[in-house]
Amino acid sequence: MQKLKTLLQDFSHRKIFWPLVAIAVVLLINLIITPSFFRIEIKNGHLFGSLIDILNRATPLIIMAIGMTLVIATGGIDISVGSIVAISGAIAATLIQTMPVPLAIVITLIAAIICGMWNGMLVSGIGIQPMIATLILMTVGRGVAQLITNGQIITINNNVYSFIGTGYLLGLPFAVFIAAAVILVIFFLTRKTAMGLFIESVGGNSISSKYAGIKAKRIIFQVYVICGICTGIAGLIISSNIKSADANNAGLWMELDAILATVIGGTSMSGGRFYIGGTVAGALFIQSLTTTIYSLGVPPETILVVKAVVIILVCLSQSNEFRSLLSGIANQRQKKVIKA
C-alpha cells in the first residue's frame, strides 16, 4: 500500500502526469454528456469511434509538436511550421499529378528538409534570433506554397497518396502508425543516442556545452532540420487526409498549437529538458479538447473563451506555486473546522 502510494506520488511528479489528467478530465466530460463516447466498434473492418478519431486527428499535431519540442529544448522556437505544412502539401499535390507517389513524397520531404536547413542556417549560422528567423519563412513560405498552387486548392485524386491520411492498417488509421514511427525514431535518436543529451545541454547552457566540446551550432542546425522533416510529414498527412492541398489555410496557426502541446507536456520555453511523452500527451489533450468542443455543440463564438479558460486551468494545475496556495487554503480551512 505504502509502496503504491509512493509510486503514485512519484508518478504525479512526472511531467506527463498533468496533461494525462487533463485528457482524462476532458474525456470524462464527454462520457457524461455522450455515454457512447468510449464505444469503439468495428465497421468496414476497422476500428471506429470517437477515441480513434481523436487519435487520428491528433497525428499531424503530435508529429509537428515533437519537432517543435526539440527546437524549443535548444532554447529556440520555430513559428514557420504552419507554412512548411502548406509548402509540403502544395509540392506533394502538384508532383503526384506527374510522378509516382513515393518519388513525390521523397521530393516533398527533401523540400521540408531544405526549409528546416534554411531556418537552421539563419539561427545558428547567421545568429538571427529564432523567432524572427522563422518569422521570415513563415511569411515567405505561405507565399511560396501559393506560388506552387497558383492560389488554388489542388484536389488530389490518387488513392495511394490518400492512403497516408485516410487509410487503415490492422484496423487502425495508417497515420497513427506514421506518428508512432516518428515518435519511436525521435525517441531512439534522442534517448538511445547522445543527441538528446546534447540538445538539453545546449538548451541549458550553450557556452558550457561549447566548452565541453559539443558543437552547439551544429546541434541547433540539426534540430531545425528535424523539425522541418517532422512538419513535412505532418503536411503530407494533412493534405492526404483532405485529399487536397490548400496553400492558404493548411497549417494556419498550427505553430501555436504545437508550442502549446510542447509546453503543456512540460518542456520549458527557455530550453533545457524536454519530454517527448509529455508533448504527445499535450497534443492529444489539445485534440480531444477541440473534438469535444465540436461535438458538444459549443457555439463557435465561445470556443476561444472556452479554450483560454481550459489552457489557463491546465497550466495553473501544473504550477507548484498554485498548488501550494491551494493546499495552504485547504489547510487553513481544516484548521478552522477543527477549531470550530
Binding site: T193, A194, F198, G204, N205, K210, A212, G213, K215
Partner: protein, 504 residues
C-alpha cells in the same frame, strides 16, 4: 555576553531540500563590530544558512532576531531593507548593465526624481577605487573578468551595508592584493560597528581577519569559537570531522628540465590573437605540470582558451604531439587529448538543468560523438567513481547540478574532464571554492596524474598552490610572457618579484 552587542541571532534554524537535510537546528549569533567566520566543508550548509537568513530560501524551522526583533525576511529585498547586505557565493550581478549600475541598481542617486547618471558614475568610480580597482565603470559588467565582477559585487554590498554584511566566499577569485584591499575595508567597517559574516576556505584569511568562528558540518552546528582559542589543526579536524593527516607540506620532486628531449606534447609557436593575447611560444613536455602565474587580467585564462580553441588564434601554429594545427576548436582539442576546466563555473562550466551524472559524462560523450552513446550503466559507473574519488556531497547522482553547493559543482566539472582521461589537462582555477580537505586531495590527485604521465597546465591565483604542484611556472603580465621559473627559483617570492619587475 552583553545582550546589546548582539546584532543578529539565529535560533534552531532548519532547512530541508528534497533528499537533503541542509541545516538542522543551527544557532548562530553575530555581534556588533566583529568579523565572524563561517566555516565548513563543501556542502556543509554555509551558503544555505546565508540564503535562509536573507530570504532566498524559506526556512523550515527556527527564528531570526535582528537587533532583538524577530524578522522573517521573505526576499533579499526584505533583508536588504532591514540592513543586511550580501555578496552571494556565485557572482550575482547583471552582465548587461554597466559596472556603475550594478553597484547602484535599486538605489540610484536621484536628481529631481530622475536617476542622476553622472553622480552615479562618479560614486561608483569612488566605490571601486576604495577597493583599489581602477576601471571604467561605464562599461558593461560582462566586459570584465570574474575577479573584477567579484569586486563589483563587494563594492555594492559594502556600499549598501548598514548593519550586517555577509560575504560568501568573496575571495575565491581574488588575488592577494585584492584580498588585502578587501580586508582593509572589512576592518574599517568593523570599527564602525558593523557585524560581518565571512565565508571562506582559506584558513590564512580566517586567522587574519576574523574574531570568531562558527563551524558547520553536514548541516549541523559543531560550535562557535574565538579565533585565538582554536588552532588551525583543530579547526580543520572539526570541519572535516576527523583528524587531519594530509595538510602538511607535500614533498615535491620537481622534474628537471631535460634539455635533450625535444619531444614536446604541446608546442605553441607564435600563437596569438589580436587584442586578446600577444603571440607567445610555449613548450610543454609529457608529464610536466606547468603553472601560469600572473595578476588578474594578465592573460592566463586567455592563453588557455587559445590552446583549447575557444578563442580562435589569428597567428601562429600549435603542435600537439607533433601534429600541426593552425586552427582549433574545443571538439578537436578534446580529440587530441586536451581537456580544459574553465574558470567561470556558472557560465562556462555547469549545465544547470542537467544531473550530476550527465554533467560528468558530457565532455566524454561529446568526444565520442552522437552515435556512440555511453550506456547508462557505464555512465553511472563513471559518475559513481568520481563522486567517490572527489568526495562530492550529494543525495544522488541524479540530482540537478545547480542544487549542489558551489564547491561540489566545481568538483563535478573537474570530474567531467578527468573522466575523459586526457593527455593534457588545463585547469583554470580548479580549486576555487573548494574546502581545505578536498583541496589537498585535488592537489594530490594532480600530482599523481602527472606521475602517471598526464601533462597539466595549472592556473591558480594561489601562488602557494602553484609552487606546490608545478614543475615550471610561466609568469604573465599584460598579456605577455615575461618570465619562466624552474627548480629552486620556483618560490612564491620569486613569482611576485618577476611580476613586479619582469616587464620593465
Amino acid at each position: 555576553m552583553a545582550e546589546k552587542d548582539i546584532i543578529l541571532q539565529m535560533k534552531g534554524i532548519s532547512k530541508y531540500f528534497p533528499g537533503v537535510k541542509a541545516l538542522s537546528n543551527v544557532d548562530f549569533t553575530l555581534k556588533k563590530g566583529e568579523i565572524h567566520a563561517l566555516m565548513g566543508e563543501n556542502g556543509a550548509g554555509k551558503s544555505t544558512l546565508i540564503k535562509v537568513l536573507t530570504g532566498v530560501h524559506k526556512l523550515d524551522d527556527g527564528e531570526i532576531y535582528l537587533h532583538g526583533k524577530k524578522i522573517t525576511p521573505k526576499s533579499p529585498l526584505d533583508a536588504q531593507k532591514s540592513g543586511i547586505s550580501t555578496v552571494y557565493q556565485e557572482v550575482n550581478l547583471c552582465p548587461n548593465l554597466t559596472v556603475a549600475e550594478n553597484i547602484f541598481i535599486g538605489r540610484q542617486p536621484k536628481k529631481n526624481g530622475n536617476i542622476d547618471w553622472n553622480t552615479m558614475n562618479e560614486k561608483a568610480q569612488k566605490a571601486m577605487e576604495r577597493l583599489n580597482i581602477y576601471i571604467d565603470v561605464k562599461q558593461l559588467l560582462s566586459s570584465y573578468s570574474v575577479a573584477i565582477q567579484q569586486m563589483v559585487a563587494i563594492a555594492r554590498a559594502v556600499d549598501i551595508s548598514s548593519g550586517v554584511l555577509i560575504l560568501d566566499e568573496p575571495t575565491s577569485s581574488l588575488d592577494n592584493n585584492e584580498v588585502k584591499e578587501l580586508f582593509k575595508i572589512m576592518n574599517k567597517l568593523k570599527e564602525e560597528g558593523m557585524g560581518i559574516i565571512f565565508v571562506t576556505h582559506f584558513l590564512d584569511q580566517v586567522y587574519e581577519v576574523s574574531d570568531r568562528i562558527t563551524i558547520l558540518r553536514n548541516g549541523t552546528l559543531i560550535g562557535e569559537y574565538k579565533v585565538e582559542e582554536l588552532p588551525r589543526l583543530e579547526l580543520v579536524s572539526k570541519m572535516i570531522g576527523k583528524e587531519l593527516e594530509v595538510l602538511e607540506h607535500m614533498p615535491k620532486e620537481r622534474k628537471q628540465k631535460d634539455e635533450e628531449d625535444e619531444n614536446y606534447i604541446i608546442y605553441a609557436k607564435g600563437l596569438g590573437k589580436k587584442g586578446s593575447i600577444e603571440p607567445f611560444d610555449l613548450k610543454i613536455k609529457k608529464g610536466e605540470v606547468i603553472g601560469l602565474a600572473g595578476l588578474l587580467g594578465s592573460g592566463r585564462s586567455e592563453t588557455a582558451k587559445l590552446l583549447f580553441g575557444i578563442d580562435k588564434s589569428d597567428e601562429g601554429v600549435l603542435y600537439i604531439d607533433n601534429k600541426m594545427f593552425t586552427s582549433m576548436y574545443p571538439k578537436k582539442a578534446i580529440d587530441q587529448g586536451l581537456a580544459f576546466c574553465p574558470e567561470e563555473r556558472k557560465v562556462e562550466g555547469i549545465v544547470g538543468e542537467l544531473t550530476i551524472r550527465e554533467n560528468i559524462i558530457l565532455a566524454m560523450q561529446a568526444s565520442k560523438g552522437i552515435f556512440k552513446y555511453i550506456p547508462m550503466k557505464k555512465q553511472q559507473e563513471i559518475a559513481q567513481k568520481y563522486i567517490e574519488l572527489l568526495n562530492i556531497v550529494t543525495p544522488s547522482m541524479e540530482q540537478r547540478i545547480d542544487k549542489l553547493s558551489g564547491g561540489n559543482q566545481q568538483k563535478v566539472i573537474l570530474a567531467r574532464w578527468l573522466s575523459t582521461e586526457p593527455k593534457v589537462l588545463i585547469l583554470d582555477e580548479p580549486t576555487r571554492g573548494i574546502d581545505v580537505g578536498s583541496k589537498t586531495e585535488i592537489q594530490k590527485l594532480i600530482l599523481s596524474l602527472a606521475a602517471e604521465g598526464m601533462t597539466i597546465i595549472f592556473i591558480s591565483s594561489e601562488l602557494e598552490e602553484v609552487v606546490r604542484c608545478c614543475d615550471r611556472v610561466i609568469v604573465l603580465r599584460d598579456r605577455l610572457q615575461i618570465g619562466e621559473l624552474t627548480g629552486d627559483d620556483l618560490q612564491e617570492s620569486m613569482i611576485m618579484k618577476t611580476i613586479a619587475e619582469g616587464g620593465q
